[in-house]
């Protein structure tokens, strides 16, 4: 058995944190996979407030693209050929 971090999102579902990406502006993003439905993949941005860290949706598809590109770069070489 292996330990993983799990959190509950606004839709009430539990997600496993599978990866973290930090962009050039030092924003942190989490890649989350549904605990019960592994096809349910979401990305959330971490924002910091006085009382701790919060997750919010991304503002735009451009931001999404940036994060997915960083994700692809981070895992370069791990890509399986079809």
């Amino acid at each position: 058995m292996i330990d993983v971090n799990v959190m509950t999102l606004e839709n009430g579902k539990d997600y496993i944190i599978t990866d973290t990406i930090i962009n050039d502006n030092n924003n942190k993003y989490l890649f989350l996979v549904g605990k019960l439905d592994n096809n349910d993949i979401v990305i959330r941005k971490v924002i910091t407030k006085n009382d701790g860290e919060y997750l919010v949706k991304l503002d735009s598809e451009d931001e999404f693209e940036e994060i997915m590109t960083l994700f692809g770069d981070k895992h370069k070489g791990e890509k399986n050929e079809e």
């Binding site: 058995m1 799990v6 599978t18 990866d19 993949i41 949706k57 999404f64 693209e65 994700f71 399986n80």
Partner: protein, 307 residues
């Protein structure tokens, strides 16, 4: 008569029609896409990936579309919609234990995610437009700004007012052909008749005293213009839909779209055109104002020099 222009128009019409077919297939098969997104993807597949319409409809691009659909699901789950409130969820994690089998499953999901990033570029309008400008300018001879406007016409069609369409045409005279095609497409599908009736009215009102229409006229081929006017007559109910005359008009428009000049038009359709010009004075007026050397002149010559 501008042969190349007509060929280009015809190619544009075919291309746009194929894109719509493909987009409708994509929306039907992959529920994650809306029509706008599907149009972008259809253009991408046909221009960048060189798929034919038939190949896509036969499922040959399905593997690509499955990846792209997966990306779209993640976009839909991750990106806040325009009118959606910002919801902040406190980051509270709990440790849980999962089996090695589940870990392997997660690793598989990450590998899939890495793999599907290869189709990322299809999501984004800017990149799509760059690709379209780069390729389309070679293929169907349109300018960068026109791609954007064409997209507005194609994707936000139902939001466009007659005034906006007219102004788009004034700013981008080359787009008139596309607009005509769209009007034709929509007419045949029973949409936006009101808008095009309105456009017709605006055109008529501005025809004689609005200089901003000059660039439009200088860019429109006679055949295109004729098609447009005939379409407008059909919209306005001057030519009743599915009547014998309507069918004749369709035949005339179709032949004009294909043949390089008036001389190449069949005798039968020359007769139809003559009938139309005699019956509908608006048509003759519009064509005559368009330039000194118009179909009208040619028809006049044909009819023995009578104006």
């Amino acid at each position: 008569m501008a042969n190349n222009k007509t060929d280009t128009l015809f190619e544009k019409i075919n291309f746009n029609s194929d894109c719509r077919n493909v987009a409708e297939y994509i929306v039907k098969k992959f529920a994650d896409f809306d029509l706008e997104k599907a149009m972008q993807i259809a253009k991408y597949l046909m221009i960048e990936e060189k798929y034919s319409r038939e190949a896509i409809l036969n499922g040959e691009a399905d593997k690509f579309l499955e990846k792209r659909s997966k990306i779209q699901q993640i976009v839909n789950n991750s990106v806040r919609q325009e009118n959606e409130n910002i919801i902040e969820v406190k980051l509270r994690t709990k440790k849980e234990k999962i089996s090695k089998k589940d870990v392997q499953k997660l690793a598989g999901i990450m590998a899939t995610l890495i793999l599907i990033t290869s189709v990322l570029g299809v999501t984004y309008t800017d990149r799509m437009n760059e690709a379209l400008v780069r390729n389309t300018s070679q293929k169907i001879d349109v300018l960068a700004s026109e791609v954007v406007v064409k997209d507005e016409i194609a994707y936000n069609y139902n939001e466009l007012t007659a005034d906006r369409i007219i102004n788009l045409c004034i700013d981008n005279p080359n787009l008139f052909d596309v607009l005509i095609y769209d009007s034709y497409y929509k007419i045949n599908n029973g949409h936006r008749l009101d808008t095009f009736t309105e456009i017709w009215n605006i055109l008529q009102n501005r025809l004689s005293n609005d200089e901003s229409f000059e660039p439009i006229y200088s860019k429109i081929s006679n055949k295109t213009f004729l098609s447009y006017v005939l379409n407008i007559l059909m919209i306005n109910g001057k030519i009743e839909q599915n009547s014998k005359e309507y069918q004749k008009c369709i035949g005339l428009i179709s032949e004009f779209a294909l043949k390089p000049s008036y001389e190449d038009i069949s005798k039968e359709n020359r007769v139809v055109l003559k009938e139309m010009l005699q019956k509908y004075q608006d048509l003759g007026l519009m064509l005559y104002k368009e330039s000194n050397k118009t179909i009208m002149n040619e028809v006049n010559e044909e009819m023995g020099g009578r104006k």
